[in-house]
Assembly symmetry: C2
Homo-oligomer: 231 residues x 2
Amino acid sequence: MTKQKYKPGKIRERNNENILAAAEQEFVLHGFKGTSMQSIADRAGVPKANIHYYFKNKANLYRSLLESIMQVWNEVLSDITPDSDPADVLSRFIRSKMELSYTHPNASKIFAMEIIQGAPHLREYLSNNMRTWMKERTAVIQSWIDQDKIRAIDPTHLIFMIWSTTQHYADFETQILEVTNKRQYEPDDIDQITHFLIDIIFTRLGLEQPQLEPFRPQPEEETSEPASSPL
Amino acid sequence: MTKQKYKPGKIRERNNENILAAAEQEFVLHGFKGTSMQSIADRAGVPKANIHYYFKNKANLYRSLLESIMQVWNEVLSDITPDSDPADVLSRFIRSKMELSYTHPNASKIFAMEIIQGAPHLREYLSNNMRTWMKERTAVIQSWIDQDKIRAIDPTHLIFMIWSTTQHYADFETQILEVTNKRQYEPDDIDQITHFLIDIIFTRLGLEQPQLEPFRPQPEEETSEPASSPL
DNA sequence: GTCTATACCCAGATAGAC
DNA sequence: GTCTATCTGGGTATAGAC
């Protein structure tokens, strides 16, 4: 009879997270149109009607997922200024992206599928936010070039290169594990790839290879975040 | 009444190609599960039952598409030997991949979505063919290192880097065009990106930048190949 | 807030007339 | 070889009892 000390809305919050985690799995496996509300309900262990009660409809649920993904996406490379040390900022950029590929592969995959299919649910967001995001970053990189901090390079394609190479390890995980004959990535793999990418890019930019702390993922906390948290 | 000089099976062949081209479009937009046979039929301008007559079922049609994609995929980097000139082989590798991203973006996208979703229709192929493909290539690159033709580097991740950076321009086309504020890629863009990638990679490998013929796509022939040929 | 039952629609696939 | 009509299952969404 001891009434649990859940603060109001705690149950709803937990249900929300369970449903989002289940939806993430299903959307990765079958895409937006190919995923059924029933399969999400089954995986989350709730009746199908409850998902409609919480999220209204499938498009809404999917958009909630995309929003939580874009939120994390926007945190990387947010501390870049003309006065920054390029080696510091770029190595942390590459490293953060690699860590995200390791810790949140499904988020990366859902984003990738959304873009590949023409970004039907994300077009507005892209044109509103992405272009200015890019303009600001490339302007800073160009200022580094003008200050002779790095060798001249096309800043836009440099960012595309870092995006593509790091996200590749999340999105094409299946192919990479098959080809390299591994069962799963280990933290050491993430370190090795991060060094590989920094090595190639920094050589071209005329930067010294930085010393990096090895990547050690935090042991999964009990309920601080759901296991497959939306990115 | 002049009986057309179509060789036997010509009509069937044309129908096949139309259906495959329509299927390619639909599978890119909606994924395997999300695509309906009706929408493929509508796009191809044939009754739905005919597709079942030609391809038996959806999975079969999809696999036919994947096979034609893998066929083209396998042609690149097929002429690599320990005696080859690394600068020549690698620059043509990068260039071919960039040209494929330009000429066959949908093929790249379908392949990407298949891998992202866990390669349910391609797993067997991957484990049978891909690992030996990779072993052979990385062995040759390692031999170049042993011969001091290029600076030491991890051959496997070098190939991943070329795959990811080149395919990115096909798969993430929507995002890239939005961010760079373009309506579509031009042949000049392909040249510029190719040079960008060769520049960075060759600098790290200690190779001279090669002279490259500019990329000029052949003017679309009338019926030599369907407009949206399967890769 | 929760879940059963159901309305309504569209999917893949095939039978069978042409 | 072609296409209409139809079978059967599963989809989204909601009404309404609990």
